[in-house]
Symmetry: C2
DNA sequence: CGCCTAATGCACCGTATAGTTACTTACACA
DNA sequence: TGTGTAAGTAACTATACGGTGCATTAGGCG
């Protein structure tokens, strides 16, 4: 029985054989995986195209070059983590709770998005060549730092945080203690002879990290 | 007229054209630089041979493969940082001074040996494949952790450190807050819009780091 | 329907790369 | 002083890589 095969007039649910946006997205997802797994130099464009179920030609059509693709992937990742962070709604939590929430969020984000760390490492290996001139990134970063600064200010006003802590330094420290544990989990597991990714190890670490930050920021 | 062409009988001061150990060392030094600059995948064996002023064949003769060379470089780097650390003689310093000395040493070691961080990052990208079965590394790491544990114990006995802090967690945290700042100094400089390597920035950071660790470990 | 543009596919290129083959040369030791 | 062995060299290979030229096709629009 003849179902309508392709009615261009029909609604948005119809299957498109040619769909630029979908193809772009598939390439970006595949690229994220491949870049994260093998680094910028180690990643293979053929592998990306294959995994994206797209032709390599499309990759160059949409993103110009391997570096162009990497830049796009990386910028999307930064946008994503900041967007998630904004959802935490820290400004409506008591300062100490907000601080703890931020630490825990960072930790859980790295667990849920292991690619992020490796992508950032790759970008630092090439001295931030791809994001150096990204106005988007600078804008969202400024907002982010200001958000933390206002949390610190509020904590001081409410007499629960110590005075004089710099928001940038605090941000760096929170990222540090979470990031390092994950990025170095392989050498770490060898050196400390324990499985860094075992559930109990993870639990122990996040507890320690929250303690570290609270002792640094809170009074008493 | 045949003049004496070469008198091999002369004493130890004679210049040696062939010197296996020296060649090996030159290759290792060149490899360290190249691997650190471009990562394991990005490093070029031709570039290493050229910089070492050695023939590429020698590289394969002494180290079997690119990975074999990387393994050797990395193991030497771990041995070096632990050797330097041992020289600190922490056990003969008051606990709090010892702790501060350790934090400051870590910081300064990363500044003086920027290659170390990049090499470790590369090793983690390939899931510690090169060091996974290194007994040497495990031995020196155990000693290292024990040294910190005994410092913690001594501090508790002298009533200057809090009880119940795990040496491994503390080590990880000390490494974290120093390591992260350097490995991410390029993206960091973009995001926080400040030069991470400026002298004042460095000074501010190490001060902050010492404070972080002291607040974590020390009583009041 | 038929046209035009954008999406897609295929086959190819030049080069750079890790690794090797086959050779020469210095020197320690008898 | 002669010789075996290890140090050193140069030219080469096979292939994998990032990137491209050009033909083909789908589908929105008039």
């Amino acid at each position: 029985m003849p179902l309508e095969k392709s009615r261009p007039s029909s609604s948005s649910t119809k299957k498109r054989v040619r769909d630029a946006e979908a193809t772009k997205l598939r390439i970006l997802e595949a690229a994220k995986k491949e870049f994260a797994k093998n680094g910028l130099e180690g990643a293979r464009v053929d592998a990306i195209a294959l995994d994206a179920n797209a032709n390599k030609r499309m990759l160059y059509h949409y993103f110009k070059s391997k570096d162009g693709l990497f830049r796009t992937v990386l910028e999307r990742e930064y946008l994503n983590i900041r967007a998630e962070e904004t959802k935490l709604d820290l400004e409506n939590l008591p300062p100490r709770t907000a601080l703890e929430t931020l630490v825990r969020f960072t930790w859980e984000y790295y667990i849920a998005n292991p690619e992020f760390i490796t992508l950032v490492n790759s970008e630092n290996l090439c001295k931030a060549a791809h994001i150096k001139n990204s106005p988007t990134l600078k804008t969202i970063s400024q907002k982010f730092v200001r958000r933390i600064q206002s949390l610190l200010d509020r904590g001081v006003r409410e007499n629960v945080f110590r005075e004089g802590i710099d928001a940038a330094q605090l941000n760096i420290t929170i990222a540090s203690i979470n990031y390092y544990y994950f990025t170095n989990r392989f050498t770490g597991s060898v050196i400390f002879e324990r499985d860094f990714t075992a559930p109990e190890a993870l639990k122990e670490r996040i507890t320690f990290n929250i303690e570290t930050i609270c002792r640094l920021v809170c009074k008493n």
